[in-house]
């Protein structure tokens, strides 16, 4: 990990984090609802963190703040200790990015994209990125307009991995892909990250794809972090019980209509639970809705 720069980083803790948000608030225009409201996050070095939430929860806004594409209304974010609002160029030098759209030039081939990336990013691993495309069977000499959505996403991922950046920010890159293409993309991502040791923040609302790929889970409800922990802790730390069961208010996350159509409650049961990832995410989103309704 790159050394912290005391001149640009607001010191809040002695533990360095690859991605950090503190008191992060982002409001688009006066009087509008905050897209992010006093968010605190520490995403430590290494592994893939899933950022899950419904549309409008602020997933893209959070990623854009890390990239310096959006300026926080209040609070700050840091990438490897660098505040992108103050030094965007240095922060971006530590980031590889894939957006919801592949963000490719229709008229260029895969090889030309890698050539372009090598010209833009010093130290870009063009050979490694080309190997990656060969390994997943994406033709490099064909214009991207003639490739499938999944193949285009693989080119975007190859460009991000080729940066060898310590941080990868992926803003719903699989949202528009079919299940097979999603699986291929996420498998490639997992393998690439294991080799490179990057810290990855993967925004998604397709929960089923995340198991076996992600190490940590953040549930972002509109404007607030509802859960942040390991996938293992999410599963084993929670249980689903019938909504009619008597549950201590301290243990109850929320009651909601489960995937089976029955009313259920998500409860905290550290070490003994057996909730599915879907249940955990739905439960915390239901809790967020309930608190919004109460407000």
């Amino acid at each position: 990990m790159a050394p912290m720069d005391n001149t640009v980083m607001p010191q809040v803790s002695s533990t360095p984090a690859s991605l950090r948000a503190q008191g992060l608030t982002k409001r688009y225009g006066r009087g509008r609802r905050a897209a992010l409201d006093r968010i605190d996050l520490d995403i430590t070095t290494g592994g893939i963190t899933a950022l899950v939430g419904p549309n409008g929860a602020g997933k893209s806004t959070l990623i854009r703040c890390f990239m310096g594409f959006e300026r926080p209304t209040r609070g700050f974010v840091t990438v490897d200790g660098i505040d992108p609002a103050r030094d965007r160029t240095r922060a971006l030098a530590r980031i590889g990015y894939v957006g919801q759209e592949a963000g490719l030039y229709r008229q260029l081939t895969g090889d030309e994209h890698l050539e372009l990336a090598a010209g833009l990013r010093p130290g870009f691993d063009r050979a490694g990125a080309a190997d990656h495309l060969d390994a997943v069977g994406v033709p490099r000499q064909v214009r991207t307009s003639e490739l499938s959505g999944g193949q285009q996403a693989q080119i975007a991922l190859a460009m991000a991995l080729g940066t060898r950046a310590p941080v990868l920010l992926l803003d719903e890159p699989v949202a528009r892909l079919d299940p097979l293409a999603r699986r291929d993309f996420l498998t490639t991502l997992r393998d690439g990250v294991r080799k490179g040791g990057s810290t990855v923040l993967l925004a998604s609302h397709i929960i089923g794809d995340l198991e076996g790929v992600c190490d940590e889970l953040i549930v972002l409800a509109p404007a607030a972090v509802m859960f942040h922990g390991s996938l293992e802790a999410a599963r084993t730390g929670h249980a689903i019980v019938p909504a009619t069961d008597e549950v201590s208010p301290d243990d109850l996350v929320a009651s909601f209509t489960g995937l089976t159509g029955r009313r259920v409650s998500l409860v905290r049961r550290p070490g003994t639970g057996d909730a599915s990832l879907d249940d955990v995410v739905l439960g915390y989103l239901a809790a967020a809705n309930a608190s919004l309704g109460a407000a």
Partner: protein, 322 residues
């Protein structure tokens, strides 16, 4: 460097080839029309006999040549020069509109801005190859139009002339640069192609009108007394004639509408004073003033274009990539 140049061209392939094609059509047509003018083989004394008072005008020989020359000059060269009026603006718009605006609308800006880190470096890398192409293609147009303009006034014998001012030579490149900078900045600001095309086209129209106004303003500001030869026919020897004025004994030049009688010293018969002291003179600019106009034209449009290029860097630095 070559790789970035090639990729920049590939990314804006349509715009680059359209510009090259447009300039090639207009430029080559200009050269063809020039060849046709030369091909008439009309001697200068047939075209402007009044500047050769010692030569006897041979109507039988000269009339057909003069007719053919001026028909080609008026109909064909006139059309090319009309196209040359719009060409630098169109090429500037074509190349400038999509350079940043297209990246934002096409969704590639987040990818390349994230990769590059420094947006200034990215923009410079995208801009320089297109700027080189713009200048190169317009240089061809500038040379071709210069050759045609010279062929339309053979009686100038290659000396500078205000005929077709603003439609040939380095001014063509400067106007193209101004339109390019304008379209680039509007594209970077709006991030959408259609609004950029419409707004830039409108502004480029004003730019074209501004070019004519600039020439008129410059001529007015620099007009001085010019000698009018006896053969004066309104096309003052490659210069610009803007009217007649009164030249007073103290050197002042005043409008013909002025009350001259009031200027006569008291106790003197105004009519006699006027007849003896006030001359009617022609006002305008000489053909030798043309290089000064050219420098003004290039400086004004060039500065305008460069100012917009600089503004684009500031816009790109600040704006969101979507």
């Amino acid at each position: 460097m070559l790789s970035r140049f090639r990729l920049a061209v590939r990314i804006q392939r349509f715009e680059v080839w359209s510009s090259v094609l447009l300039v090639a059509v207009v430029g080559i047509t200009a050269l063809i029309v020039r060849a046709r003018l030369d091909g008439v083989g009309a001697p200068v004394e047939c075209l402007t006999p009044w500047i050769f008072p010692d030569v006897v005008y041979d109507a039988a020989r000269c009339d057909p040549l003069q007719g053919a020359f001026f028909r080609i000059s008026r109909e064909e060269a006139g059309l090319v020069m009309t196209a040359m009026n719009a060409l630098p603006l169109v090429v500037g718009l074509l190349l400038g509109v999509g350079l940043v605006g297209g990246e934002i609308e096409g969704g590639t800006a987040p990818t390349v801005w994230a990769l590059a880190g420094s947006r200034r470096r990215w923009l410079a890398g995208r801009l320089i190859p297109i700027l080189v192409i713009l200048i190169a293609v317009l240089a061809f147009a500038a040379i071709a139009s210069e050759m045609l303009a010279a062929a339309r006034v053979p009686w100038q014998f290659g000396r500078p002339s205000f005929d077709d001012a603003g439609l040939h030579g380095p001014g063509v490149i400067a106007r193209g640069l101004a339109a390019f900078g304008l379209a680039l900045a509007v594209g970077a600001w709006s991030g959408r192609m259609l609004p950029t095309i419409l707004l830039s086209a409108l502004l480029a129209l004003f730019l074209g009108i501004g070019g004519h106004l600039l020439l008129e303003t410059w001529v007015d500001a620099n007009a001085h007394e010019i000698a009018v030869p006896s053969w004066f026919n309104g096309e003052y020897d490659g210069g610009r004639f803007i009217g007649q004025r009164y030249h007073l004994p103290d050197g002042r030049i005043i409008d013909q509408g002025s009350d001259l009688a009031a200027l006569a010293p008291s106790g003197v018969d105004p009519d006699a004073w006027l007849a003896n002291n006030v001359k009617i003179v022609a006002i305008g600019v000489h053909a030798p003033d043309y290089p000064a106009w050219l420098m003004t034209e290039v400086a004004v449009f060039g500065t305008f274009g460069i100012a917009w290029l600089v503004a684009t860097f500031a816009i790109v630095e600040r704006r969101r990539p979507f």
